[in-house]
């Protein structure tokens, strides 16, 4: 079954290390304080590998992939 995923960040855990924006700039940029701004859209399959790496590399484990409803 094909999974429809998007990124969410746990703001209470995120310290603004910026690893996500470094590893996955296609969907993550940083605001002027250094916290991630996420592209809310579904992650296309060709970018899935980058999303997974960003999630796994977050030093605060603050980045998550969740199912897009519907």
């Amino acid at each position: 079954m094909k999974r429809h995923l998007r990124l969410v960040v746990d703001g209470t855990a995120c310290d603004g290390h910026g690893v996500c924006a470094e590893l996955f700039p296609e969907h993550v940029t940083l605001d002027r304080w250094g916290y991630p701004l996420l592209e809310g859209a579904e992650i296309p399959p060709r970018l899935q590998e980058h999303a997974d790496r960003a999630v796994a590399s977050c030093p605060r484990l603050a980045l998550h992939l969740v199912e897009v409803p519907g």
Binding site: G11, T12, W33
Partner: protein
């Protein structure tokens, strides 16, 4: 849909009249005891509650009155389907908003109506625990109400009482659960495991505002058709409003949904000029021009159409003499002080918003005529917190800039107005100092 079959009920109150929740209020403000409560409203139909209450709540159209306006039946169904473990029901009386006191009134004066609703929820959801989360000064009242019920074996599940934190955000659902799990009373990230699945003690948890539970107690007794006997088809029922600026102290008013706010407040259209503006929904809500507010139907969608929210029912009438920008700056400073301090955008952004709003009020030259930094910071905090605190702050700031455009222009062009140093007329904000000096008043600029 199943038709409601009700036995003839000698206690059935008129469906089309207000007050409804507040019908049994003691004129001296004493808590209504269990005997008096039952002689007014009748016994709780536990069997019917277990079988049909959730469907009845769906038919009734009851929505939550803690501020989120979420359909009650939808919320309960999401919890019932939450797993094999028996859920926990929390009656949420943590009313952190300093401008709101309707939940306090309900719990202080009509505790059994709220407790009936909590027990009805526990019955319908087959919950294993019921917890009332209430501020310290109400714990004795709730405690003796619970003791009276315990003596009669009234409730299917024993009711626990836990003292709430007294911060602005203490009533946020995940903050309530966090406190009940003996962690800090702060919101938690809900994106992975929401409290409806893993809440108090890891169990599926319903956190429901106490006014909502009082409505539930009446739906359980009198059914959805009775509930829909007031309000409009799309927006049935009533809601409690906490009104400031009509006489000394706050007044609690029960309004039919859909009624014209001016009528509910006893204000004709001609008196709008007495007020600089009207704050709806409290400090996470937003301002409306006085005329717009008086003509507004008491419906959440109407409030949202104008960029604000009824929230938990706060209405503050701002006198024409007040400086709305100074009052707004105090609100934003308060919201900054009351943030949980967990999420980066909120930690950084709310301080900026408070500084910029304070500058606009007392030192507008610092803005060099530009409002864009304020709007940019609003956009940077919106939707980026674990809770909606930053969203409320941004909505409040945007509403102030929109509704008080004339005052904004006057401040930017000519400096702060003469009223800017006057003491705050908003509830709970007197201690917030903007650093403004009062100047001799020679009329408004």
């Amino acid at each position: 849909m199943r038709a409601a079959v009700l036995s003839p009920n000698q206690h059935l109150p008129a469906a089309s009249e207000v007050p409804r929740l507040l019908l049994g209020l003691d004129p001296d403000g004493r808590p209504v005891g269990l005997e008096e409560h039952l002689s007014r409203w009748g016994a709780m139909p536990w069997q019917r509650t277990r079988m049909t209450l959730i469907d009845d709540l769906a038919s009734s159209g009851l929505v939550g009155h803690g501020g989120a306006w979420f359909p009650v039946a939808t919320k309960w169904r999401s919890i019932r389907g939450g797993g094999l473990r028996r859920p926990v029901v929390v009656a949420n009386d943590a009313e952190g908003e300093p401008a709101s006191s309707k939940d306090e009134l309900l719990m202080a004066c009509l505790p059994h109506l709220v407790l009936d609703g909590a027990s009805a929820a526990a019955t319908a959801l087959d919950a294993g625990r019921v917890i009332v989360y209430a501020p310290r000064h109400l714990v004795p009242i709730v405690g003796s109400a619970v003791a009276a019920r315990r003596r009669r074996g009234f409730d299917p599940v024993d009711i626990e009482v836990v003292e709430s934190a007294d911060t602005f955000i203490s009533g946020q659902e995940s903050a309530v659960v966090s406190a009940l799990n003996r962690n800090a009373p702060l919101p938690t990230f809900q994106g992975k495991t929401p409290i409806r699945t893993r809440g108090v003690g890891g169990r599926p948890t319903l956190v429901q505002n106490v006014e909502t539970l009082a409505h539930v107690a009446l739906v359980a007794r009198f059914g959805p058709a009775w509930f829909r006997g007031i309000g409009s088809d799309a927006h049935p029922g009533t809601m409690l409003l906490t009104v400031h600026g009509r006489g000394p102290g706050p007044r609690i008013v029960e309004s039919p949904l859909g009624a014209r706010l001016g009528d509910v407040l006893g204000l004709s259209a001609g008196v709008a000029g007495r007020y600089r503006g009207v704050l709806l929904g409290g400090y996470g809500g937003g301002w409306l021009p006085a005329q717009t507010a008086l003509d507004l139907p008491v419906i959440e969608q109407a409030a949202r159409h104008h960029g604000t929210s009824l929230g938990a029912g706060v209405v503050v009438l701002l006198p024409a003499e007040a400086c709305p920008l100074a009052e707004s700056a105090r609100v934003v400073r308060y919201l900054d002080q009351q943030k949980a301090g967990q999420c980066g955008p909120c930690v950084n952004g709310l301080g900026e918003l408070a500084d910029l709003c304070t500058a606009l009020a007392v030192q507008p030259a610092r803005l060099s005529g530009h409002l864009q930094p304020l709007l940019d910071t609003c956009a940077l905090v919106e939707g980026r917190g674990a809770c909606r605190h930053p969203d409320g702050a941004a909505r409040f700031v945007r509403s102030a800039l929109r509704v008080f455009g004339d005052e904004v222009t006057a401040h930017l062009r000519g400096g702060p107005c003469a009223q800017v140093g006057a003491p705050s007329v908003l509830p709970g904000l007197r201690k917030i100092d903007l650093g403004a000096r009062s100047r001799p008043v020679r009329g408004r600029r």
